[in-house]
Amino acid sequence: MKDINLKQIDEFKWELPPESDMLVPGIIYADKKMIDLLQHDESIKQVRNVAMLPGIVGASIAMPDIHAGYGFPIGGVGAFDVENGIISPGGVGYDINCGVRLLRTNISKEAVLGGQSHVLDALIDRLFKNIPSGVGSSRKDIQFSKADLDDIALNGAKQVIEKGYGFLEDLEHIEEGGAISGANPDNVSKRAKERGHDQLGTLGSGNHFIEVGFVEEIYDQEIARAFGLNQNNIIVLIHTGSRGYGYQICDDYIRLLQDYASKQHILLPDRQLVWAYFSSKEGQQYFSAMKAAANFAFANRQLITHWVRESFEQVFKERADKLGIHIVYDVAHNIAKEETYLINGKQKRVIVHRKGATRAFPAGHSGLPESYLKIGQPVLIPGDMGRYSYVLVGTAKTISDTFGTVCHGAGRLMSRSQAVRSSKGRQIVNELREKGIIVRGASKATINEEIPEAYKDVANVVDIVEGAGLAKRVAKLHPLGVIKG
């Protein structure tokens, strides 16, 4: 790969000036140390490739958790004019609406850890039992028909709430109220529905997890209070997405758009960067199928939330509402959204692709629920299973600079095979237990691949996003127990 010519704009912002076929510059949020590591990384080339796509507006942007993906880099953001721009499955990813949901409780850390750790062990065991996680696992007590699946594609979280899995008030604190309008299950293939049918209500494996933790530190009392976060109270993080339903939709449309590219004589720098004009029939088909997958993911996280509440009820012998188990927020980090931004003095409708990047709307944005309108959107940034995660709040600078977007997590430091080699001879579960963190996993291979040191320090990523003025820290979360598929 030829030398990267990056220009430093300020301490946390770097520009890849337009060259060759780039229509706009690349903008990378990183510190100097990260930039030095990125010089040899495929991800900068991917930032450049995105900048070549038709109708791109502003810049091809990358967040500090940037690493190489398929098509777009992970941590990549690209906005395209709805009239003459494109939409790309490579800008969303296989796991459509992979995202994070944060639950808060009234339970103190002491109630879980005080005395002996039996309560925490019991809670983690119960979560592991109640929530299907690994390959082939599912709950026998839920039955969704094919018609149900189509309704879920249209109505998302609300569809499963109406079947008894949660409360209608849950919808207020889910992005788009738990369903993006305009989904069309007719544009979802039979294969995708087959793959999704048995996987609805499952966690999946890899980097998906459920984490029980507590609020370790609060940086902004007023905002934390508005989010319902109190120091030392127990929280639960859920990280999962659209499962086989979404993966197959991505596969199907990459195939369809490969044909489209071939017919339109489009030369692609990367096969995974296939695209269609947003206004084309193919573009709209993909968008409506992507929304169906997004809604499936909202429903999936809703089902898991119900079983988290059920698990807490079984251990604490108290109703979930008495335990104060409520959603702080649920937000996607693999998605394409139609949004409006001020570009060159005019309001412009664009398709914002967020590939491993999280929406972060500031106070006053019309896309926020009423309860957060004066505060701003909670932004959920999970770290690895051994350290910490963060809750941030979006600022106005995201609207002017990054199409309302910030980072999504820590980003990997080690390959999976390196992580496995690093864990050879070690008992990772025991090591984490000695640190006070219980891990239950369906697969030892996954736990070894997901060791804490395989990831960057998420604090560094958050430092950059905060230093760039894109978001503010609200709270730090500390893990106590983790379920992995």
Binding site: G134, G206, S443
Partner: protein, 145 residues
């Protein structure tokens, strides 16, 4: 570059930032297709004993050979997730630049007989390029975990 070898040296794991990159080699293209399927299954499932077998005819079309390879592996993934069929072996009766016809013998997945190693979301198209050099065919593919 540190690499790891899988299942009786049928394939090699190449370091990759976030997922798993697999390289297979063969003296024929058919062999590369078969080894690709074996590698994919080996990354997901451990082999069992006294497994039930099922035979299916698989017919795939693609714009070019590299995509044919990707679609073949995606088909194997689909067969596993939807039907619980684990690729065992195959007889490839037709393999052109754009079409594959094969008779595939699968093993039926059973939680009692098979240990799941990991879930694979997808076989990506990333940098798939079947190369021929000195009568040896090589291809790398990346699976999204």
């Amino acid at each position: 570059m540190k690499v790891a070898h899988g299942k009786g040296n049928n394939y090699t794991i190449i370091p990759h930032a976030s997922d798993i990159c697999i390289e297979v080699q063969g003296s024929t293209i058919k062999e590369v297709f078969k080894k690709g399927a074996i590698a994919l299954m080996d990354q997901m499932i451990s082999k069992g004993k006294n497994e039930r077998t099922i035979v299916r005819h698989i017919d795939i079309k693609a714009p070019d050979k590299d995509l044919l390879f990707v679609y073949w592996l995606q088909e194997m993934l689909y067969q596993f997730y939807v039907h619980g069929y684990i690729y065992n072996r195959s007889r490839i009766n037709k393999l052109t630049e754009t079409e594959l016809k094969a008779i595939v013998t699968f093993n039926k997945f059973s939680p009692k007989k098979h240990k799941v190693k990991r879930e694979i979301k997808a076989v990506t198209h990333h940098d798939v390029n079947i190369m021929e050099k000195n009568n040896k065919y090589t291809v790398r593919f990346v699976i999204d975990i």
